[in-house]
Symmetry: C2
DNA sequence: CTGTTAGCGCCTTCAC
DNA sequence: GTGAAGGCGCTAACAG
């Protein structure tokens, strides 16, 4: 079944069918009705492959993420699909598992399917891997690491705002020794978060805290290990900010095993606001970096680039703000910070809002 | 850049280029070399759209899942992508969010892109939604609910084995009152798990337990609510088996808040073995239903169907076995089952292995 | 306003 | 063994 079949049954030319489908306004209502009727009866759907072959646009956007089993990404994938579908775009999802070979393969798959644009939401910095795409003039959008080139957009994340709020929230709760567990510092985004922490600390003169910078790896296990380190620190911190939620959850998990009660004995703040964070015990106070917004920004960046005829000469920059979400993993610092274990606390944190 | 360009530069016809790419054996090595050289220099990749237009096969499989933000699905998606890519297939992922409208849309997207087959891994029972696909003779594969029709495969899950192991494991630990928290019984797969539990209980004559059947909803919140119910039961159960891991995790979470220690005061067993289960505290004993295997079975089912020329007259059936994975959320039943709270236990369960 | 026609990029007979 | 040519399903000029 194809456009000819429809045309035959509706007793019109294939051109009229095509026009009807694409709602070209010049079609007589009478004919349009006849065509639609046949289309419905037949359950006809145009062949997208043929369409894109002639139009030169596939209406497919590529989406490259690190790994979908990392709880940070599913929401991104989901909301990207959501908005893409609303715009009649299809999405070709690809995971890299941090493996350069898979990245190369991903790029290749994108090219073979002739995607109209690619969102690289890996938070990594594998820039030259995308040369193939660039030279083919495929619009790209990155997070934080996009080079300033034509057709390449960048979503810059304003880490500072959220992290400053977190630091000041803790300060207001009388914390003076705040640890920071970063991600792998080789990651530009991890380094940026750490830097934002340092600046926020300096701003309010809590310089003691600068001795409490620990490098983690953005995993739960990393968080557990980091907590052990923290427990061995002299002048043990009373609060800790983590570079991502999984780390924070690891810290909480390990605290539980060490008999340290959160938030009573230790205040914990995460970063990302993944779905899971509201469900841990206690619900995690965290810095929200909206995954939905990232997807939307990324999609719109690509869409804008596709729709404009003269490519942006130097790439467009979008900014995503972060902000603190107060839940129950932070509390006023305790005077004598013993490490007893009690019944799950029902104490409420004092908020600064 | 296209096949003509390659042909021109290699000074051969486009037919030869095509043959070279598709490794048709009749091409002279000499020519083949020339062609490949040009292809590499140019970085030429064949246009998949054009290919599938003429070949009639898109080399795309559709994958329909419920929602990618449910921790059960990411592994499925990932491993499906994995195996698909190894076979040079692309995958069109679609989420339904349990919304019939989105399901319809999903089917439509599949048809428009002319997928060669669709894996419906939603564990639901939205059968007639796929009539469109069936009538177009698109191979389909379902889990548990596939109707016995040509070109439709079915992955039947052997719930019984794993659940029986779980029940017997608990019995060996002297538990006699075992609760079961099911999923929504409207779901065929949930009902099947419950039935397997009932049979396994009967088999060893623990009929008391049959009074402890609770309907949950496969979410963490459902698990929390179910635990509260359990606490109010007279002859309170000393162990609970959950229809999925998220429910079990909810039970554990709520137990924590109620001051009930796991596994000391209550043994908990989950179902699915999602990634997260190894990381909760304590690590969850659960019944493994390998997501990777599901993906592989589903993919191969589709591939087989695509490759055979005469469609299977009645659909093929595949079986996936389940089995118990022992971790730390189960223990010997306690003589006096008070509800004190203690330091995180380091007690080890006695295993039956 | 509608129909005819020429490709989009590729595979595949069919001659040579 | 290789090339020429037709056609996959569709859109977009161009006529009428």
């Amino acid at each position: 079944m194809n456009i000819h079949e429809v045309a035959r049954r509706a007793k019109v030319s294939i051109a009229t069918v095509s026009r009807t489908i694409n709602s070209v306004p010049t079609v007589t209502p009478e004919l349009s009705r006849r065509v639609w009727k046949v289309i419905d009866e037949l359950g006809y759907y145009p062949n997208t492959q043929a369409r894109s072959l002639v139009s030169g646009r596939s209406r497919i956007f590529g989406l490259i993420v690190s790994e979908i089993t990392n709880p940070f990404f599913p929401e991104i994938v989901q909301s990207f699909e959501d908005i893409a579908v609303r715009h009649n775009y299809e999405i070709l999802t690809t995971t890299t598992i941090h493996d350069p070979k898979r990245m190369t393969l991903a790029v290749r798959r994108m090219i073979e399917r002739r995607v109209d644009g690619v969102a690289v939401l890996t938070f990594g910095m594998e820039d030259e891997l995308f040369d193939d795409l660039k030279s083919r003039k495929v619009p790209l959008v990155f997070v934080d690491v996009g080079p300033p080139l034509p057709r390449i957009s960048n979503i810059r994340i304003d880490y500072r705002n959220g992290i400053r709020q977190a630091v000041q929230h803790l300060a207001a709760l009388r914390h003076t020794r705040i640890a920071f567990i970063s991600g792998p510092l080789a990651l530009k985004t991890a380094a940026a978060r750490r830097q934002a922490f340092i600046e926020s600390i300096r701003e309010i003169g809590l310089s003691q805290s600068l001795r409490h910078l620990i490098e983690g790896n953005h995993t739960m296990e990393g968080g557990r290990a980091a907590l052990k380190e923290i427990l061995n620190l002299r002048n043990r911190p009373t609060a800790v900010i983590c570079s991502n939620d999984m780390t924070a959850i690891g810290v909480m998990r390990q605290s539980y095993e060490e008999g340290i009660e959160i938030p009573h004995d230790l205040s914990v703040i995460g970063f990302d606001d993944i779905h899971l964070s509201q469900f841990v015990t206690p619900p995690l106070t965290t810095i929200r970096m909206s995954q939905t917004e990232i997807s939307h920004l990324a999609f719109n960046a690509l869409l804008n680039e596709v729709q404009r005829e003269t490519p942006s000469s130097t790439g467009t920059e979008y900014v995503l703000h972060t902000s603190l979400v107060l839940r129950d993993s932070t509390a006023l610092v305790k005077a004598g910070s013993g490490r007893g274990r009690k019944k799950a606390s029902s104490s409420r944190r004092a908020t600064t809002r």
